[in-house]
Amino acid sequence: MLLGPSGCGKSTLLRSVNRLVVPQSGTVYLDSEDTAEVDPVQLRRRIGYVIQAVGLFSHMTVADNIAVVPSLLQWDRARIAARVDELLDLVGLDAKRYRKRYPRELSGGEQQRVGVARALAAQPPVLLMDEPFGAVDAIVRASLQDEIARIAQHLHTTILFVTHDVNEALRLAERIVVMRDGRVEQYDTPLQIVSNPATPYVRQLFALDEEERRFDSLRASLAQRKT
């Protein structure tokens, strides 16, 4: 989990993993392989990618969107169709109902579920998520967060997740990298960071949010009561 204010470089760091950004110095290793020595196009097909703006292809159906990477990898048709249904199921959408729909017919939350399914299509060992739930309302966000936590456990995929939301980081992260001005302030487990903040900035970041976090859990329980 990469956590920090906007402009601190967390997205840039994330995008250097699949070489959408080329680092000026330093090396990115993926499974002890220097990513600079791999063809970037091939590399990206092995790494899932989910962005805040979702970026579903509006001229393709949900099924075709999810099938993008498998078809780039030239899977056969039957295997792709089976995989699409399996993924829709995984992200909690009814395959029969959603396969043939277009992105414009979906709500924001549903669109990002499809975005996640598309990123996971070819079973990437690593998944990059750049503020994936930043554009949906709080209730939908909470349910998407639960969903991704469940999926992560189910798939054993390593997820690199960018957020500026302290609650989201605490809720989902196994480890948090706190960043500011292009530098890492602290890298540790949520518990360690909260109990032993390494810098005044980290202390402030997590203290400021105490209040809001209480409100957030209240909101979540209210949301649950409604359903």
Partner: protein, 206 residues
């Protein structure tokens, strides 16, 4: 009107010839405009010089350009196709550049991030996304070329201009109309067809 009915076969043939000139001009125009339009969309700094050259081509009166073209290409369809292709550059290059520049950035980022090669990004995402705008530009260009192709009557390229200019020379209004009415009708029909195409391609995207 009697001229129209008496020469129906000949008029139909001239109409086909006219369409042939327009399609030929359009094909050459697209082949030239596509790389320049794509370049202008990709490299914003290249846009200014490209647009000023096509702008200059556009303001040269087409008849004057045709006269120059005949010096080099002789009589017949070649100089007409040259003029049509040159004239369409202004509309097509700017249109292609605009259409590509307006493809949603999130979809481009996703296409790249998912591992599409540059050519896959172009054919699978950029082109379908740009289609409605591109079809709109093609419509404007085609309608303009249908009008300009009547100049073919001056240089022995055939087309509906034959009847228009012969009728004018002979002060024989019926023959002039036999060229101008089908030309106008052609423009209206082509315009309507492109509008339909444009609407259906847009409906798929929204």
């Amino acid at each position: 009107m009697s001229y129209l009915t008496a020469h129906a076969g000949q008029i139909a043939q001239l109409t086909l010839q006219h369409l042939g000139l327009v399609l030929g001009g359009l094909a050459v125009a697209i082949a030239i405009a596509a790389p320049f339009g794509i370049l202008a969309a990709r490299v914003p700094r290249a846009g200014t010089p490209i647009f000023s050259v096509t702008g200059i081509l556009y303001v040269i009166p087409s008849l004057a350009l045709l006269a120059v073209a005949v010096q080099y290409l002789g009589l017949g369809p070649a100089p007409v196709i040259f003029v049509l292709a040159a004239y369409a550059q202004f509309i097509l290059v700017r249109n292609i550049a605009t259409a590509l520049a307006n493809v949603p950035a999130a979809q481009l980022d996703a296409a790249r991030g998912l591992g599409m090669s540059p050519s896959q990004q172009f054919w699978r995402v950029e082109l379908p996304q740009a289609a409605p705008v591109l079809i709109g530009g093609l419509r404007l260009a085609t309608v303009a070329l249908i009008a300009i192709a009547t100049l073919g009557g001056y240089v022995g390229a055939g087309g509906l201009g034959d009847d228009i200019f012969l009728g004018l020379q002979r002060k024989y209004i019926d023959q002039t109309l036999a060229g101008s009415i089908p030309a106008a009708a052609l423009a209206v029909i082509v315009d309507a067809l492109f509008r339909l195409l444009e609407r259906s391609s847009r409906a798929r995207l929204e």
